[in-house]
Amino acid sequence: MNQLVHRLPKPFDNAPLEIVPHRVPWGLSGLAVFAFFAVPWLGSDYWLNAILIPFLVLSLAGLGLNLLTGYAGQTSVGAAGFMAVGAFATYGLLLRVPGLPLPVALIGGGLIAAAVGWVFGIPSARIKGFYLMVTTLAAQFFLEWVFTKFPWFYNNASSGTISAPRLELLGVDLSSPVGRYLLTLVTVALLTWVAVNLVRSQIGRNWMAIRDMDTAAAVIGIRVERDKRRAFAVSSFYLGIAGALWAFAYLGTASAGSFDINRSFQILFIIIIGGMGSIAGNFIGAAFISLLPIVLSYAGQALLGGSVDAGQIQNLQKMIFGTLIIWFLVKEPDGLVRLIASLREKLAVWPLRF
């Protein structure tokens, strides 16, 4: 009997395991070496305290929000609320569990924030778009209220604030500017590495499918509701750790007011200006956001010389800020990261044009 055998083509023996070749560019490694080894030597206390630490923490917060908004497409304006959860949870863990190492407390704070984020992600199963955004506002206000109203969270301090508990690791004191800088840098570097791999993995791809169109994603078999909740949880984990670092590595003393709605907007602006759906964009956006006020106030001082009061400069700052946001949205919706990339493409063939 003549059997009809349908032969499948033989699989390639050398099928690539990676679809996109993954290697760390030289520039990035150089930057990492510089940040780890040179900056602690070169940087003055002012630079470390007032510029580099907030920049790194804001980048991490932007990263957390970007996972949710830029990758999974769920707009959130409650980022600071989850940062507050992380800060207060880390504080509580360090305070109430004696001998708990700092990294464990940080991760614990992040996990508690993730759990809270997961709960606030439940409505995302039924609600979309602006309606969902308002539920994240609910999270923001509710969490702010919780951390103001219940003294247990701030150990019944009359001021309602929490301050940096013991910042030490394996007996090394980290409370100096360099120590806090390195703590922040290591945390941010590790978490960024995780995020890079996360968005390349199945779950990251699911998120992007949901972002592009969740109905279509459901049709091709992605469990949309589960993955949306996971996005909320992972994003809150990042935001929680960023919140703990913001409170203890940067501010030193924090209260619920340090995580108000303006902080949420600030983080949202970081990802808009830096670039939605981009890891590097968070760092660029955070650099922009944290340097702009400094530059503007210097420029204000230099141009107008103390004749204009601080309030007016602040108003001016606000207006420049708003204008820049609109300008970015009009000119480059993909943010600074895209702007830099296209600049690089142009420079590569300079002086010719495409």
């Binding site: 778009g129 506002l137 609910a138 206000f141 509710f142 907007f265 001016l316 946001i325 949205l329």
Partner: protein
């Protein structure tokens, strides 16, 4: 019982103030699909303009007219500089642009007209009024009737005038409206101006109550749950939503608040909105979105 009624009525009347703010949102969202976060800043800006004009000794009506002129100019400028370049972008992009806009307006308002608290006297007495045995704030009554008048005027505008009918056409189907020759940009300018005027009314009433100052722009955050409950696309929904939020907030603060530490008004309305959303994901009167792949 009387205390309960007083709380309820006080809440309902305060709710109409929320509705006034929410109406501005609904107008813009219906016509251009923009979730206008700058509504609060517009409110602050117009109320500040009015107060500053009054302080310069310009009588009530003239200052009102001048403020409206400023609002119209602002609406045209916003349409030109923000909406037109962003046409056909995603709704989220437009929302973020209005966030930027709110920064500009807040900076501009405070930079030009100062940041201190201004008193605003509209000549409404805030003495309590006795209706039977129930005490009602006179000011709230005036606010509620203003809301009623505003809604009536808007309803007439939408149903009886040429402009209103074009507005509804745009809201129904932008593409079809364009194809029969409706000037979309002009419609947007008109809608933003009308929403700005609704914002002015709301801003004056809120300003008379709590002084004209920066916190006026935070009234927006009060109006969001109202929108959620009523639906983003329905003016009637904004009214009903405002009443529900106002009443529920007042009752909850009085009856539930003390047992969980008080001060629950900042988030209670949002909590309520969440409960509503779980039952009706597009609000009470919102349009259910049909998705096609």
């Amino acid at each position: 019982m009387i205390f309960f009624l007083e709380t309820l009525i006080g809440g309902l009347l305060a709710g109409t103030m929320y509705s006034l703010v929410a109406i501005g949102f609904v107008l813009i969202f219906k016509a251009s699909g923009v979730f206008n976060f700058a509504q609060g800043a517009m409110l602050l800006f117009s109320a500040l303009t009015f107060v500053s004009l009054q302080e310069h000794g310009i009588p009530f009506l003239q200052s009102l007219l001048l403020t409206v002129v400023v609002i119209v100019i602002g609406a045209v400028a916003i349409e030109r500089a923000v909406l037109r370049p962003l046409m056909n972008r995603s709704q989220i992009t437009l929302f973020m642009a209005t966030l930027g806009l709110s920064f500009i307006l807040e900076g501009l308002a405070q930079g030009l007209m100062g940041a201190e608290v201004r008193a605003l006297d509209l000549g409404i007495e805030d003495t309590p009024l006795m209706l039977g045995e129930v005490m009602v704030s006179q000011f709230d009554l005036v606010a509620a009737s203003t809301a009623a008048v505003l809604v009536t005027v808007l309803a007439l505008l939408f149903n009886k005038t040429h402009i209103g009918i074009s507005l509804r056409a745009v809201a129904d189907d932008t593409r079809a409206a364009l194809s029969i020759g409706i000037n979309l940009n002009r419609i947007w300018q008109i809608v933003w101006a009308v929403a700005g005027c609704a914002g002015l009314v709301a801003g004056l009433l809120w300003g008379a109550r709590q002084g004209v100052q920066f916190s006026l722009s935070l009234v927006v955050l009060k109006a969001l749950p109202v929108l959620i409950i009523g639906g983003f696309t329905s003016i009637g929904g904004a009214i009903v939503g405002g009443l529900i939020v106002g009443a529920a907030e007042n009752l909850a603060e009085v009856y539930v608040g003390p047992s969980i530490g008080g001060g629950i008004t900042p988030w209670f309305a949002y909590f309520l909105a969440l409960v509503f959303l779980h039952v009706r994901p597009a609000g009470l009167f919102g349009e259910r979105a049909i998705e096609r792949v």
